[in-house]
């Protein structure tokens, strides 16, 4: 545990890790918000969530390789491309399982996740790739704290997107239809809401914001075909901790996860960072179950 000693003797490093954690945490929260939307409205846990993030990263990468600006054009292109992909996936597969068993939806989206992951692996190659936005970085406190501008921009872009989605759900006609469907799909249908369209839009919007998050991720960190599952698990954890339909709690949980992951990555070493994410999932679920079990009598 030498790294803990290093950490304790270097307060600036602790701050650096925390700041980086907060900045990536907003992106986790954005993907988690999408997962909560689909889960709440369609009662589907979308295991392919992380693959949308991964594909969004690739779209931005290709836009950048084509010579356009990754931030101004790449991220919107990712959102649009993933919106279309989400709509197509809904029309092909998801609409068949919306009213079905929850486990069928987990398995089907798990299949979609493997499919997208392996397709990306075949078509784009398994290399770790990144896009540089060439924005430089800013040194604060006399060089003790260095923050890349792109991380700051990604952080605020994620917040803006989240806020935009919130306002969209709150005030727009389609957003109101989405909320009505989530509260009671039968009643919504009786009152003239085309719930099939609402579901398609919900799934596609989720894919789009994941795609935008992926575009921001590829500029701040990197992308590769096997990036998906950790993002799905992160989103799931955040939603489980925050609860459905609570935007601020999703944001706080996302920031907290970002910080925790950065510290864990430093203390345990990079090779255990993935293990940390997946074990944290197990711990969170067991802890949640323990809390729930205390409220009811369970036969042992």
């Amino acid at each position: 545990m030498d790294s803990i000693g290093i950490l304790l003797s270097a307060p600036w490093l602790m701050l650096q890790l925390a700041v980086d954690g907060v900045l990536i945490g907003a992106l986790f929260a954005l993907a988690a918000y999408g997962m909560a939307l689909v889960w709440g409205v369609m009662n589907i846990i979308n295991i392919a969530q992380g693959e949308f993030v991964m594909l969004g990263g690739f779209v931005t990468l290709f836009v950048a390789q084509a010579g356009y600006h990754p931030l101004l054009l790449g991220v919107p292109a990712s959102a649009v491309a993933l919106f279309v992909l989400g709509w197509i996936i809904y029309r092909l597969i998801i609409f068949r399982i919306v009213d079905g068993d929850l486990f069928i939806s987990i398995l089907a989206t798990f299949g979609i996740s493997i499919l997208l992951q392996q397709l990306a692996n075949q078509l784009f190659g398994a290399d770790v790739r990144t896009v540089s936005a060439d924005l430089g970085s800013v040194a604060l406190f006399g060089g003790n704290l260095v923050v890349g501008w792109i991380k700051v921009i990604a952080f605020f872009a994620a917040l803006l997107l989240g806020a935009g989605l919130f306002l969209f759900l709150k005030f727009s006609r389609l957003g109101q239809a989405i909320r009505a469907t989530s509260q009671n799909s039968r009643a919504a249908r009786i009152l003239g809401v085309d719930t099939d369209r609402v579901y398609a839009a919900t799934y596609a919007i989720n894919a789009a914001i994941c795609g935008a998050a992926g575009g921001l991720v590829v500029m701040t960190w990197f992308t590769h075909p096997f990036l998906g599952l950790p993002y799905t698990v992160r989103s799931f954890m955040i939603v489980v901790v925050a609860g459905l339909g609570n935007l601020m709690a999703v944001l706080w949980a996302g920031l907290g996860l970002g910080i925790a992951e950065n510290y864990a990555g430093f203390i345990l070493g990079a090779e255990f960072q993935a293990a940390f994410i997946f074990l944290l999932l197990v711990v969170i679920l067991v802890w949640r179950n323990h809390r729930l079990a205390r409220r009811r009598m369970v036969l042992k």
């Binding site: 987990i106 398995l107 997208l116 090779e271 993935a274 679920l285 036969l299």
Partner: protein, 335 residues
């Protein structure tokens, strides 16, 4: 077609003779045939939780990996000969796998439905990542199992019969368990867990017991597979979540969980298809795997046996009351 009761003993006999002589007839494909029985075992043990109990686990591969490593470590460190080392190693594999199932089960089998599914998904991958960072078992560079004293063909044959015995033992054990109160208990849990609990079934005990049975056979098969392959990689052999781990789910669903034959049939169909056609896909196998999962889950969720049951209900003893010929149980007479 004769009634199911009359053809059953004959079918068992044919199956037994075929499985005992298969490696001698197809002597070039003994390894593939050995893996056929591993696949059958995978599907059967997955179906115990996923099909019969309604607890869909993506993490059963954990017990397979624990078994593989436990056996290999015993063989490496205890300095027994090959055969005694393997025997003690398999014992250790079974004990450790069952122990892990009991401990993990007590912790996470309280989770319901999709929470359990996603928790086990995390567990399976976490196990692989942890094993890849654990120096005692070779970390990321894997662990080499002892070399078989004898010809390669002889080794393949030994492991073929080992896996055949394991799959048969798993099949008979599960069939026996399903026919008892245990079977009723786990199906009650699947149908309505709260009601089962209210009826006085100790649901948590049943769930842990079921996972332990599953882990027992998976641990033993892991020990064998580690030795047959000769090399244990943490992510690609022991905790191979993206191959074995996904296959078990797929095979069990493909077969359907109407009867215990479902997962066995699903495993055979999947494995044979895979061995025959997979090589032509040239790296697109895993894409096909994802596509296959989606197609089966969305369009064919009842599986092969589910389809057979709607087609020929008499095979499953479900003759509709009042159907012509219902008394004789003739399948042909049922519309």
């Amino acid at each position: 077609m004769k009634s199911a009761a009359r053809i059953r003993p004959a079918a068992y006999l044919v199956l037994l003779v075929a499985s005992l002589t298969a490696p001698l007839v197809f002597s070039n494909y003994v390894t593939q045939l050995a893996f056929l029985w591993v696949m059958v075992l995978f599907a059967l043990t997955w179906d115990l939780l996923g099909g019969q109990m309604g607890y869909n686990s993506f993490g059963n591969i954990v017990f397979f990996g624990i078994g593989a490593y436990a056996c290999a470590v015993v063989q490496r460190d205890w300095g027994l000969g090959y055969a005694p080392g393997l025997a003690v190693g398999m014992l250790a594999a079974a004990v450790l796998a069952v122990g892990a199932a009991a401990v993990l089960g007590a912790a996470i089998l309280g989770l319901r439905g999709h929470y359990f599914a996603i928790c086990t998904l995390g567990l399976g991958i976490a196990a692989g990542e942890l094993a890849a960072g654990f120096d005692f078992i070779g970390a990321g560079s894997g662990l080499v199992t002892p070399v078989f004293p004898g010809e390669i063909d002889e080794r393949n044959l030994v492991y073929y019969y080992l896996f055949l015995a394991l799959a048969a033992a798993a099949f008979l054990t599960l069939r026996w368990l399903y026919s008892r109160q245990f079977g009723l208990g786990i199906r009650a849990i699947r149908d309505n867990e709260d009601k089962a609990e209210a009826m006085g079934i100790h649901t948590t005990r049943y769930k842990i017991a079921a996972w332990c049975v599953s882990a027992f056979f998976l641990g033993l098969s892991g020990a064998g597979v580690g030795n047959l392959i000769g090399f244990i990689d943490p992510r690609d052999v022991a905790f191979a979540a993206s191959t074995f781990g996904v296959w078990m789910v797929l095979m069990a669903i493909l077969g359907g969980s109407v009867s215990i034959w479902g997962p066995a049939i699903g495993a055979v169909v999947f494995h044979v298809t895979q061995e025959l056609f997979w090589t032509y896909l040239l790296g697109w196998q895993r894409v096909a795997l994802g596509l296959l999962i989606v197609v089966i889950v969305v369009f064919f969720p009842q599986g092969i046996t589910g389809w057979l049951r709607t087609r020929w209900p008499a095979l499953f003893g479900n003759v509709p009351v009042g159907a012509p010929g219902a008394a004789e149980g003739d399948a042909e007479a049922v519309p």
